[in-house]
Protein backbone atom coordinates (compact mmCIF):
# COMPACT_ATOMS: atom_id res chain seq x y z
CA UNK A 1 0.00 0.00 0.00
CA UNK A 2 1.41 3.39 -1.05
CA UNK A 3 0.50 5.24 2.14
CA UNK A 4 2.52 8.31 1.18
CA UNK A 5 0.48 8.68 -1.98
CA UNK A 6 -2.78 8.39 -0.04
CA UNK A 7 -1.55 11.03 2.38
CA UNK A 8 -0.39 13.29 -0.48
CA UNK A 9 -3.85 13.20 -2.11
CA UNK A 10 -5.64 13.55 1.23
CA UNK A 11 -3.43 16.45 2.32
CA UNK A 12 -3.85 18.37 -0.94
CA UNK A 13 -7.63 17.93 -0.80
CA UNK A 14 -7.82 19.07 2.83
CA UNK A 15 -5.51 22.00 2.03
CA UNK A 16 -7.95 23.03 -0.70
CA UNK A 17 -10.68 23.20 1.92
CA UNK A 18 -8.46 25.30 4.16
CA UNK A 19 -7.82 27.69 1.27
CA UNK A 20 -11.52 28.03 0.57
CA UNK A 21 -12.84 27.98 4.13
CA UNK A 22 -15.55 30.57 3.40
CA UNK A 23 -17.00 28.48 0.60
CA UNK A 24 -16.27 25.03 2.00
CA UNK A 25 -17.16 25.48 5.67
CA UNK A 26 -18.81 28.79 6.45
CA UNK A 27 -21.28 28.74 3.57
CA UNK A 28 -22.89 25.34 4.32
CA UNK A 29 -22.91 26.05 8.06
CA UNK A 30 -24.68 29.38 7.61
CA UNK A 31 -27.17 28.12 5.06
CA UNK A 32 -28.08 25.11 7.24
CA UNK A 33 -28.31 27.32 10.32
CA UNK A 34 -30.83 29.47 8.50
CA UNK A 35 -33.10 26.42 8.32
CA UNK A 36 -32.93 26.14 12.13
CA UNK A 37 -33.78 29.81 12.53
CA UNK A 38 -36.64 29.84 10.00
CA UNK A 39 -38.16 26.37 10.36
CA UNK A 40 -37.06 25.70 13.89
CA UNK A 41 -37.47 29.09 15.54
CA UNK A 42 -39.94 31.18 13.50
CA UNK A 43 -42.28 28.65 11.84
CA UNK A 44 -41.44 25.70 14.08
CA UNK A 45 -42.81 27.40 17.18
CA UNK A 46 -46.28 27.28 15.60
CA UNK A 47 -46.02 23.56 14.69
CA UNK A 48 -46.97 21.04 17.36
CA UNK A 49 -44.46 18.55 18.70
CA UNK A 50 -43.90 15.34 16.70
CA UNK A 51 -44.03 12.30 18.98
CA UNK A 52 -42.78 14.39 21.89
CA UNK A 53 -40.00 16.16 19.99
CA UNK A 54 -40.20 19.86 19.17
CA UNK A 55 -40.33 20.58 15.43
CA UNK A 56 -37.07 22.54 15.56
CA UNK A 57 -35.26 19.58 17.12
CA UNK A 58 -37.08 17.09 14.87
CA UNK A 59 -35.64 18.54 11.65
CA UNK A 60 -32.01 18.70 12.88
CA UNK A 61 -31.02 15.11 11.85
CA UNK A 62 -32.67 15.59 8.45
CA UNK A 63 -30.90 18.89 7.87
CA UNK A 64 -27.54 17.43 8.85
CA UNK A 65 -28.23 14.54 6.48
CA UNK A 66 -29.20 16.96 3.68
CA UNK A 67 -25.93 18.83 4.18
CA UNK A 68 -23.94 15.57 4.33
CA UNK A 69 -25.39 14.31 1.06
CA UNK A 70 -24.78 17.58 -0.76
CA UNK A 71 -21.31 18.32 0.57
CA UNK A 72 -20.00 14.76 0.27
CA UNK A 73 -21.15 14.56 -3.33
CA UNK A 74 -19.94 18.01 -4.34
CA UNK A 75 -16.57 17.82 -2.56
CA UNK A 76 -15.64 14.42 -3.96
CA UNK A 77 -16.91 15.19 -7.46
CA UNK A 78 -14.97 18.44 -7.62
CA UNK A 79 -11.89 16.77 -6.10
CA UNK A 80 -11.49 14.32 -8.99
CA UNK A 81 -13.08 16.47 -11.71
CA UNK A 82 -10.70 19.41 -11.24
CA UNK A 83 -7.53 17.41 -12.07
CA UNK A 84 -9.36 16.14 -15.15
CA UNK A 85 -10.34 19.70 -16.07
CA UNK A 86 -6.86 21.22 -15.69
CA UNK A 87 -5.09 18.14 -17.03
CA UNK A 88 -3.15 17.16 -13.91
CA UNK A 89 -4.95 13.82 -13.77
CA UNK A 90 -2.03 12.47 -15.84
CA UNK A 91 0.03 12.55 -12.67
CA UNK A 92 -2.41 10.38 -10.74
CA UNK A 93 -2.62 7.88 -13.56
CA UNK A 94 1.13 7.66 -14.13
CA UNK A 95 2.05 7.36 -10.44
CA UNK A 96 2.64 4.00 -8.72
CA UNK A 97 -0.74 4.29 -7.04
CA UNK A 98 -3.49 1.68 -7.08
CA UNK A 99 -7.08 2.62 -7.75
CA UNK A 100 -7.97 1.76 -4.18
CA UNK A 101 -5.37 4.23 -2.92
CA UNK A 102 -6.64 7.00 -5.21
CA UNK A 103 -10.19 6.42 -3.98
CA UNK A 104 -9.13 6.35 -0.32
CA UNK A 105 -7.31 9.67 -0.79
CA UNK A 106 -10.13 11.54 -2.52
CA UNK A 107 -13.12 9.92 -0.84
CA UNK A 108 -11.42 9.97 2.56
CA UNK A 109 -10.82 13.72 2.29
CA UNK A 110 -14.34 14.46 1.05
CA UNK A 111 -15.89 12.32 3.80
CA UNK A 112 -13.67 13.92 6.45
CA UNK A 113 -14.82 17.37 5.38
CA UNK A 114 -18.47 16.31 5.50
CA UNK A 115 -18.11 14.76 8.94
CA UNK A 116 -16.41 17.89 10.28
CA UNK A 117 -19.21 20.00 8.78
CA UNK A 118 -21.82 17.67 10.29
CA UNK A 119 -20.28 18.09 13.73
CA UNK A 120 -20.10 21.89 13.35
CA UNK A 121 -23.74 22.03 12.27
CA UNK A 122 -24.79 19.75 15.11
CA UNK A 123 -23.01 22.05 17.56
CA UNK A 124 -24.59 25.11 15.91
CA UNK A 125 -28.05 23.54 16.05
CA UNK A 126 -27.70 22.86 19.75
CA UNK A 127 -27.50 26.63 20.25
CA UNK A 128 -30.98 27.09 18.76
CA UNK A 129 -32.94 23.94 19.63
CA UNK A 130 -32.84 21.30 22.38
CA UNK A 131 -31.07 18.19 21.07
CA UNK A 132 -30.52 14.79 22.60
CA UNK A 133 -28.61 11.84 21.16
CA UNK A 134 -29.97 8.54 22.43
CA UNK A 135 -27.70 6.28 20.34
CA UNK A 136 -24.40 8.09 19.77
CA UNK A 137 -22.61 5.06 18.30
CA UNK A 138 -25.34 4.57 15.68
CA UNK A 139 -25.30 8.31 14.98
CA UNK A 140 -21.56 8.22 14.25
CA UNK A 141 -22.03 5.07 12.17
CA UNK A 142 -24.68 6.77 10.00
CA UNK A 143 -22.59 9.92 9.79
CA UNK A 144 -19.54 8.01 8.54
CA UNK A 145 -21.42 5.56 6.26
CA UNK A 146 -23.44 8.32 4.62
CA UNK A 147 -20.41 10.57 4.14
CA UNK A 148 -18.35 7.78 2.61
CA UNK A 149 -21.20 6.49 0.41
CA UNK A 150 -22.06 9.88 -1.04
CA UNK A 151 -18.40 10.81 -1.40
CA UNK A 152 -18.08 7.68 -3.53
CA UNK A 153 -21.13 8.80 -5.50
CA UNK A 154 -19.46 12.18 -5.95
CA UNK A 155 -16.25 10.50 -7.10
CA UNK A 156 -18.23 8.59 -9.74
CA UNK A 157 -19.97 11.80 -10.75
CA UNK A 158 -16.63 13.62 -11.07
CA UNK A 159 -15.27 10.95 -13.40
CA UNK A 160 -18.48 10.83 -15.43
CA UNK A 161 -18.88 14.60 -15.79
CA UNK A 162 -17.63 16.26 -18.95
CA UNK A 163 -18.29 19.79 -17.73
CA UNK A 164 -19.10 21.85 -14.66
CA UNK A 165 -22.78 21.83 -15.59
CA UNK A 166 -22.95 18.03 -15.40
CA UNK A 167 -21.16 18.25 -12.05
CA UNK A 168 -24.13 20.19 -10.68
CA UNK A 169 -26.86 18.00 -12.15
CA UNK A 170 -26.88 15.20 -9.58
CA UNK A 171 -26.64 17.34 -6.40
CA UNK A 172 -29.17 19.91 -7.58
CA UNK A 173 -31.65 17.89 -9.60
CA UNK A 174 -31.54 14.52 -7.84
CA UNK A 175 -30.16 14.71 -4.32
CA UNK A 176 -31.87 17.93 -3.23
CA UNK A 177 -35.39 16.84 -4.31
CA UNK A 178 -34.88 13.37 -2.82
CA UNK A 179 -33.72 14.91 0.48
CA UNK A 180 -36.64 17.37 0.65
CA UNK A 181 -39.09 14.59 -0.17
CA UNK A 182 -37.31 12.06 2.04
CA UNK A 183 -38.63 13.16 5.42
CA UNK A 184 -36.10 15.87 6.21
CA UNK A 185 -38.83 18.27 7.34
CA UNK A 186 -41.60 15.80 8.25
CA UNK A 187 -42.34 12.28 9.34
CA UNK A 188 -43.59 10.17 6.45
CA UNK A 189 -46.38 9.04 8.78
CA UNK A 190 -47.89 12.50 8.16
CA UNK A 191 -48.41 11.60 4.46
CA UNK A 192 -51.53 9.94 2.94
CA UNK A 193 -51.18 6.09 2.78
CA UNK A 194 -50.33 6.01 -0.96
CA UNK A 195 -47.49 8.51 -0.58
CA UNK A 196 -46.21 6.73 2.51
CA UNK A 197 -45.69 3.66 0.32
CA UNK A 198 -44.32 5.64 -2.63
CA UNK A 199 -41.82 7.43 -0.39
CA UNK A 200 -40.27 4.12 0.59
CA UNK A 201 -38.71 4.02 -2.90
CA UNK A 202 -36.73 7.13 -2.00
CA UNK A 203 -33.38 5.94 -0.59
CA UNK A 204 -32.89 9.14 1.39
CA UNK A 205 -35.88 8.18 3.57
CA UNK A 206 -33.82 5.34 5.05
CA UNK A 207 -30.85 7.60 5.76
CA UNK A 208 -32.91 10.34 7.43
CA UNK A 209 -35.02 7.87 9.35
CA UNK A 210 -32.04 5.91 10.68
CA UNK A 211 -30.14 9.06 11.57
CA UNK A 212 -33.17 10.56 13.35
CA UNK A 213 -33.62 7.30 15.26
CA UNK A 214 -30.07 7.66 16.63
CA UNK A 215 -31.11 11.06 18.06
CA UNK A 216 -34.62 10.58 19.42
CA UNK A 217 -35.45 6.90 18.96
CA UNK A 218 -38.05 7.93 16.32
CA UNK A 219 -37.99 6.12 12.96
CA UNK A 220 -40.22 5.98 9.88
CA UNK A 221 -38.64 2.65 8.89
CA UNK A 222 -36.85 0.04 10.99
CA UNK A 223 -33.27 1.08 11.82
CA UNK A 224 -32.01 -2.27 10.54
CA UNK A 225 -33.59 -1.53 7.15
CA UNK A 226 -31.94 1.90 7.19
CA UNK A 227 -28.51 0.43 7.86
CA UNK A 228 -29.04 -2.26 5.24
CA UNK A 229 -30.09 0.34 2.64
CA UNK A 230 -27.04 2.48 3.42
CA UNK A 231 -24.72 -0.52 3.21
CA UNK A 232 -26.34 -1.57 -0.09
CA UNK A 233 -25.85 1.92 -1.53
CA UNK A 234 -22.22 1.86 -0.39
CA UNK A 235 -21.69 -1.53 -2.02
CA UNK A 236 -23.21 -0.32 -5.30
CA UNK A 237 -20.94 2.73 -5.34
CA UNK A 238 -17.86 0.59 -4.60
CA UNK A 239 -18.81 -1.75 -7.46
CA UNK A 240 -19.23 1.14 -9.90
CA UNK A 241 -15.87 2.68 -8.89
CA UNK A 242 -14.19 -0.72 -9.30
CA UNK A 243 -15.71 -1.04 -12.78
CA UNK A 244 -14.56 2.49 -13.72
CA UNK A 245 -10.98 1.73 -12.82
CA UNK A 246 -11.03 -1.71 -14.38
CA UNK A 247 -12.24 -0.37 -17.71
CA UNK A 248 -10.58 3.04 -17.54
CA UNK A 249 -13.99 4.64 -18.25
CA UNK A 250 -13.47 8.32 -19.10
CA UNK A 251 -9.98 8.15 -17.66
CA UNK A 252 -7.81 5.94 -19.80
CA UNK A 253 -9.58 5.41 -23.11
Amino acid sequence: MNLRAIWAIYYVEMARTARTVMQSVLSPVISTSLYFVVFGGAIGSRIPEIEGVSYGAFIVPGLIMLMLLMQSTMNASFGIYFPKFVGTVYELLSAPVSYVEIVIGFVGAAATKSIILGIIILATASLFVPIRIEHPFVMVLFLVLTSVSFSLLGFILGIWAKGFEQLQIVPMLIITPLAFLGGTFYSINMLPPFWQTATLFNPVVYLVSGFRWSFYGLADVAVGASLAATALFLAICVAIVAWIFKTGYRLKN
Partner: protein
Protein backbone atom coordinates in the same frame (compact mmCIF):
# COMPACT_ATOMS: atom_id res chain seq x y z
CA UNK B 1 26.56 0.30 -19.70
CA UNK B 2 23.93 -2.46 -19.51
CA UNK B 3 22.73 -3.84 -22.83
CA UNK B 4 19.31 -4.77 -21.42
CA UNK B 5 16.73 -2.30 -22.70
CA UNK B 6 15.32 -0.01 -20.04
CA UNK B 7 12.11 0.31 -22.08
CA UNK B 8 10.92 -2.62 -24.15
CA UNK B 9 7.78 -2.33 -26.25
CA UNK B 10 6.53 -5.44 -27.98
CA UNK B 11 3.71 -5.75 -30.52
CA UNK B 12 1.90 -2.81 -28.99
CA UNK B 13 -1.36 -1.66 -30.57
CA UNK B 14 -3.97 0.84 -29.50
CA UNK B 15 -7.42 1.47 -30.87
CA UNK B 16 -9.43 4.12 -29.06
CA UNK B 17 -13.11 3.71 -28.18
CA UNK B 18 -13.91 5.97 -31.12
CA UNK B 19 -12.44 3.34 -33.44
CA UNK B 20 -9.34 5.41 -34.23
CA UNK B 21 -6.30 3.17 -34.53
CA UNK B 22 -3.47 5.17 -32.97
CA UNK B 23 -0.75 2.51 -32.79
CA UNK B 24 -0.20 -0.59 -34.84
CA UNK B 25 2.16 -3.40 -33.79
CA UNK B 26 4.88 -1.20 -32.29
CA UNK B 27 8.20 -2.80 -31.36
CA UNK B 28 10.79 -0.58 -29.72
CA UNK B 29 13.69 -0.83 -27.32
CA UNK B 30 15.31 2.08 -25.50
CA UNK B 31 18.78 1.63 -24.03
CA UNK B 32 19.70 2.73 -20.55
CA UNK B 33 21.34 6.13 -20.32
CA UNK B 34 20.61 7.24 -23.86
CA UNK B 35 18.64 10.16 -25.20
CA UNK B 36 16.12 8.72 -27.60
CA UNK B 37 14.25 11.13 -29.83
CA UNK B 38 10.89 10.07 -31.19
CA UNK B 39 9.98 12.06 -34.24
CA UNK B 40 6.77 12.11 -36.16
CA UNK B 41 4.17 14.44 -37.60
CA UNK B 42 1.07 15.50 -35.68
CA UNK B 43 -1.21 12.55 -34.99
CA UNK B 44 1.53 10.01 -35.70
CA UNK B 45 1.03 8.29 -32.33
CA UNK B 46 3.93 9.72 -30.30
CA UNK B 47 1.83 10.88 -27.35
CA UNK B 48 -0.29 7.72 -27.35
CA UNK B 49 2.86 5.59 -27.19
CA UNK B 50 4.26 7.63 -24.30
CA UNK B 51 0.90 7.65 -22.53
CA UNK B 52 0.67 3.86 -22.67
CA UNK B 53 4.20 3.37 -21.34
CA UNK B 54 3.47 5.78 -18.47
CA UNK B 55 0.12 4.18 -17.58
CA UNK B 56 -2.17 6.99 -18.69
CA UNK B 57 -3.79 5.09 -21.55
CA UNK B 58 -4.69 1.40 -21.64
CA UNK B 59 -3.09 -0.58 -24.48
CA UNK B 60 -5.35 -2.66 -26.73
CA UNK B 61 -2.72 -5.38 -27.10
CA UNK B 62 0.99 -5.99 -26.68
CA UNK B 63 3.39 -5.64 -23.76
CA UNK B 64 5.62 -2.93 -22.34
CA UNK B 65 8.30 -3.20 -19.68
CA UNK B 66 10.10 -0.37 -17.90
CA UNK B 67 13.29 -1.31 -16.10
CA UNK B 68 12.31 -4.95 -16.65
CA UNK B 69 8.92 -4.54 -14.98
CA UNK B 70 5.67 -5.06 -16.87
CA UNK B 71 3.65 -1.84 -16.87
CA UNK B 72 0.40 -3.69 -16.15
CA UNK B 73 1.21 -6.63 -13.88
CA UNK B 74 4.05 -4.89 -12.03
CA UNK B 75 2.88 -1.32 -12.43
CA UNK B 76 4.23 0.00 -9.14
CA UNK B 77 7.83 -0.97 -9.87
CA UNK B 78 7.51 0.15 -13.51
CA UNK B 79 5.97 3.54 -12.82
CA UNK B 80 8.31 4.30 -9.89
CA UNK B 81 11.13 4.60 -12.41
CA UNK B 82 9.35 6.91 -14.81
CA UNK B 83 8.96 10.67 -14.81
CA UNK B 84 6.72 12.33 -17.36
CA UNK B 85 6.60 15.87 -18.67
CA UNK B 86 3.45 15.95 -20.78
CA UNK B 87 2.92 18.09 -23.82
CA UNK B 88 0.21 20.26 -22.31
CA UNK B 89 0.93 22.73 -19.50
CA UNK B 90 -1.09 20.98 -16.80
CA UNK B 91 -0.77 22.48 -13.34
CA UNK B 92 -3.02 23.15 -10.37
CA UNK B 93 -3.23 26.94 -10.55
CA UNK B 94 -3.68 27.70 -6.85
CA UNK B 95 -0.76 25.62 -5.54
CA UNK B 96 2.71 26.94 -4.74
CA UNK B 97 5.75 25.56 -6.55
CA UNK B 98 7.03 23.89 -3.40
CA UNK B 99 3.70 22.27 -2.55
CA UNK B 100 3.15 20.93 -6.04
CA UNK B 101 6.59 19.26 -6.28
CA UNK B 102 6.19 17.90 -2.73
CA UNK B 103 2.83 16.45 -3.77
CA UNK B 104 4.39 14.79 -6.81
CA UNK B 105 7.13 13.24 -4.69
CA UNK B 106 4.60 11.94 -2.18
CA UNK B 107 2.41 10.54 -4.93
CA UNK B 108 5.31 8.37 -6.06
CA UNK B 109 5.73 7.06 -2.52
CA UNK B 110 9.03 8.79 -1.83
CA UNK B 111 9.81 10.05 1.68
CA UNK B 112 10.10 13.79 2.19
CA UNK B 113 13.52 15.12 1.14
CA UNK B 114 13.66 18.90 1.28
CA UNK B 115 17.38 18.99 0.44
CA UNK B 116 16.84 17.10 -2.83
CA UNK B 117 13.89 19.27 -3.84
CA UNK B 118 15.88 22.42 -3.04
CA UNK B 119 18.81 21.27 -5.22
CA UNK B 120 16.47 20.35 -8.05
CA UNK B 121 14.57 23.64 -7.91
CA UNK B 122 17.85 25.55 -7.92
CA UNK B 123 19.01 23.60 -11.00
CA UNK B 124 15.84 24.58 -12.75
CA UNK B 125 16.10 28.22 -11.60
CA UNK B 126 12.88 27.84 -9.65
CA UNK B 127 14.15 28.21 -6.10
CA UNK B 128 13.32 31.94 -5.95
CA UNK B 129 9.77 31.07 -6.97
CA UNK B 130 9.22 28.19 -4.57
CA UNK B 131 6.49 30.01 -2.64
CA UNK B 132 4.87 31.57 -5.69
CA UNK B 133 1.42 30.60 -6.77
CA UNK B 134 1.63 28.60 -10.01
CA UNK B 135 -0.87 30.77 -11.83
CA UNK B 136 1.37 33.81 -11.35
CA UNK B 137 4.29 32.18 -13.21
CA UNK B 138 5.20 32.77 -16.84
CA UNK B 139 4.72 30.02 -19.42
CA UNK B 140 8.41 29.17 -19.35
CA UNK B 141 8.42 28.94 -15.57
CA UNK B 142 5.36 26.70 -15.64
CA UNK B 143 7.17 24.44 -18.10
CA UNK B 144 10.08 24.20 -15.66
CA UNK B 145 7.65 23.34 -12.87
CA UNK B 146 6.38 20.48 -15.01
CA UNK B 147 9.94 19.20 -15.31
CA UNK B 148 10.49 19.67 -11.56
CA UNK B 149 7.37 17.62 -10.82
CA UNK B 150 8.57 14.85 -13.13
CA UNK B 151 11.99 14.82 -11.46
CA UNK B 152 10.68 15.12 -7.89
CA UNK B 153 10.78 11.35 -7.31
CA UNK B 154 14.24 10.85 -8.83
CA UNK B 155 13.18 8.78 -11.87
CA UNK B 156 15.58 6.62 -13.91
CA UNK B 157 13.58 7.27 -17.07
CA UNK B 158 12.28 10.65 -18.13
CA UNK B 159 9.72 11.22 -20.87
CA UNK B 160 9.72 14.68 -22.35
CA UNK B 161 6.74 15.13 -24.64
CA UNK B 162 7.41 18.26 -26.68
CA UNK B 163 9.22 19.89 -23.74
CA UNK B 164 10.26 23.05 -25.52
CA UNK B 165 7.07 23.72 -27.47
CA UNK B 166 6.27 27.38 -27.23
CA UNK B 167 9.26 28.40 -25.11
CA UNK B 168 11.74 31.05 -26.13
CA UNK B 169 15.20 30.27 -27.48
CA UNK B 170 17.01 31.09 -24.24
CA UNK B 171 14.83 28.81 -22.15
CA UNK B 172 15.06 26.10 -24.78
CA UNK B 173 18.84 26.16 -24.49
CA UNK B 174 18.59 26.07 -20.70
CA UNK B 175 16.37 23.02 -20.94
CA UNK B 176 18.83 21.31 -23.23
CA UNK B 177 21.48 21.90 -20.58
CA UNK B 178 19.18 20.36 -17.97
CA UNK B 179 18.61 17.34 -20.22
CA UNK B 180 22.35 16.87 -20.73
CA UNK B 181 22.95 17.11 -16.98
CA UNK B 182 20.27 14.51 -16.38
CA UNK B 183 21.77 12.18 -18.95
CA UNK B 184 25.17 12.62 -17.33
CA UNK B 185 23.62 11.52 -14.02
CA UNK B 186 22.41 8.31 -15.67
CA UNK B 187 18.81 9.19 -16.49
CA UNK B 188 17.43 7.73 -19.72
CA UNK B 189 15.56 10.34 -21.70
CA UNK B 190 12.87 9.78 -24.28
CA UNK B 191 12.10 12.95 -26.13
CA UNK B 192 9.43 13.80 -28.63
CA UNK B 193 9.81 17.01 -30.48
CA UNK B 194 8.82 18.94 -33.53
CA UNK B 195 12.14 20.76 -33.48
CA UNK B 196 14.38 18.60 -35.61
CA UNK B 197 17.26 20.79 -34.51
CA UNK B 198 16.53 19.67 -30.95
CA UNK B 199 16.72 15.99 -31.85
CA UNK B 200 19.79 16.54 -33.98
CA UNK B 201 21.53 18.32 -31.14
CA UNK B 202 20.44 16.12 -28.24
CA UNK B 203 19.64 12.59 -29.33
CA UNK B 204 21.83 9.51 -29.42
CA UNK B 205 19.25 7.56 -31.38
CA UNK B 206 16.26 8.56 -33.44
CA UNK B 207 12.96 6.75 -33.91
CA UNK B 208 10.52 7.90 -36.56
CA UNK B 209 6.84 7.13 -36.15
CA UNK B 210 4.18 7.79 -38.73
CA UNK B 211 0.53 6.74 -38.90
CA UNK B 212 0.91 4.66 -35.74
CA UNK B 213 3.86 2.62 -36.96
CA UNK B 214 7.58 2.88 -36.29
CA UNK B 215 9.25 3.52 -39.64
CA UNK B 216 12.81 3.23 -38.41
CA UNK B 217 15.05 3.36 -35.36
CA UNK B 218 18.66 4.29 -35.93
CA UNK B 219 21.72 5.88 -34.35
CA UNK B 220 21.53 9.56 -35.18
CA UNK B 221 24.94 9.70 -36.84
CA UNK B 222 24.26 6.46 -38.72
CA UNK B 223 20.88 7.75 -39.86
CA UNK B 224 22.41 10.88 -41.28
CA UNK B 225 25.19 8.83 -42.86
CA UNK B 226 22.81 6.29 -44.40
CA UNK B 227 20.08 8.55 -45.57
CA UNK B 228 21.99 11.77 -45.89
CA UNK B 229 22.65 13.33 -49.23
CA UNK B 230 25.18 15.94 -50.15
CA UNK B 231 24.64 18.71 -52.57
CA UNK B 232 27.29 20.58 -54.53
CA UNK B 233 26.22 24.06 -55.50
CA UNK B 234 27.97 25.81 -58.37
CA UNK B 235 27.51 29.54 -58.89
CA UNK B 236 28.01 30.11 -62.61
CA UNK B 237 29.81 33.02 -64.19
CA UNK B 238 27.22 33.20 -67.02
CA UNK B 239 23.63 32.04 -66.75
CA UNK B 240 22.48 29.01 -68.78
CA UNK B 241 19.17 28.64 -70.62
CA UNK B 242 19.20 24.88 -70.12
CA UNK B 243 21.47 22.06 -69.03
CA UNK B 244 23.58 21.04 -72.07
CA UNK B 245 22.99 17.47 -73.40
CA UNK B 246 26.63 16.61 -72.64
CA UNK B 247 25.86 17.02 -68.90
CA UNK B 248 22.60 15.05 -68.95
CA UNK B 249 24.21 12.00 -67.37
CA UNK B 250 24.86 13.97 -64.16
CA UNK B 251 22.08 14.60 -61.61
CA UNK B 252 21.95 18.33 -62.15
CA UNK B 253 19.34 20.93 -61.47
CA UNK B 254 19.40 24.44 -62.88
CA UNK B 255 17.97 27.06 -60.55
CA UNK B 256 17.92 30.78 -59.80
CA UNK B 257 17.41 31.93 -63.41
CA UNK B 258 20.11 29.66 -64.70
CA UNK B 259 22.86 31.07 -62.51
CA UNK B 260 23.16 28.13 -60.09
CA UNK B 261 23.66 24.42 -60.70
CA UNK B 262 22.83 21.88 -58.01
CA UNK B 263 24.52 18.49 -58.12
CA UNK B 264 23.20 15.91 -55.65
CA UNK B 265 25.29 12.88 -54.78
CA UNK B 266 25.18 9.97 -52.41
CA UNK B 267 27.65 10.02 -49.53
CA UNK B 268 27.57 6.21 -49.46
CA UNK B 269 28.74 5.80 -53.04
CA UNK B 270 32.31 4.76 -53.77
CA UNK B 271 32.60 7.66 -56.18
CA UNK B 272 30.88 10.98 -55.84
CA UNK B 273 31.15 11.80 -59.54
CA UNK B 274 32.40 15.29 -58.78
CA UNK B 275 35.67 14.88 -60.71
CA UNK B 276 33.84 13.73 -63.83
CA UNK B 277 31.32 16.52 -63.49
CA UNK B 278 33.96 19.21 -63.21
CA UNK B 279 35.78 17.77 -66.25
CA UNK B 280 32.53 17.73 -68.27
CA UNK B 281 31.79 21.30 -67.22
CA UNK B 282 35.24 22.35 -68.46
CA UNK B 283 34.67 20.55 -71.78
CA UNK B 284 31.33 22.34 -72.15
CA UNK B 285 33.08 25.63 -71.37
CA UNK B 286 30.89 26.31 -68.38
CA UNK B 287 32.79 28.27 -65.78
CA UNK B 288 31.82 28.95 -62.20
CA UNK B 289 32.84 31.67 -59.79
CA UNK B 290 32.18 29.81 -56.54
CA UNK B 291 31.15 26.43 -55.18
CA UNK B 292 29.90 25.01 -51.90
CA UNK B 293 28.73 21.68 -50.50
CA UNK B 294 25.84 21.11 -48.09
CA UNK B 295 24.92 17.97 -46.16
CA UNK B 296 21.24 17.12 -45.71
CA UNK B 297 19.97 17.83 -42.21
CA UNK B 298 17.94 15.53 -40.03
CA UNK B 299 14.94 17.64 -40.96
CA UNK B 300 15.46 16.86 -44.67
CA UNK B 301 15.76 13.17 -43.82
CA UNK B 302 12.67 13.26 -41.63
CA UNK B 303 10.60 14.97 -44.31
CA UNK B 304 11.74 12.41 -46.88
CA UNK B 305 10.95 9.51 -44.57
CA UNK B 306 7.49 10.70 -43.68
CA UNK B 307 6.69 11.59 -47.27
CA UNK B 308 7.83 8.24 -48.59
CA UNK B 309 6.72 6.20 -45.58
Amino acid sequence: MSTEPIIAVSRLSKTYDTGFKALSNINLEVRPGEIFALLGPNGAGKTTLISIICGIVNPSSGTVTAGGHDIITDFRAARSQIGLVPQELAITPFESVWNTVSFSRGLFGKPRDDAYLETMLKQLSLWDKKDSNLMTLSGGMKRRVMIAKALSHEPRILFLDEPTAGVDVELRREMWDVVRTLQASGVTIILTTHYIEEAELMADRIGVINKGAIILVEEKAELIRKLGRKQLTLHLQKPLDAIPPSLAKHRLELVEDGTVLHYTYDTQGERTGITALLADLGDADIRFRDLETKESSLEDIFVDLVRNG
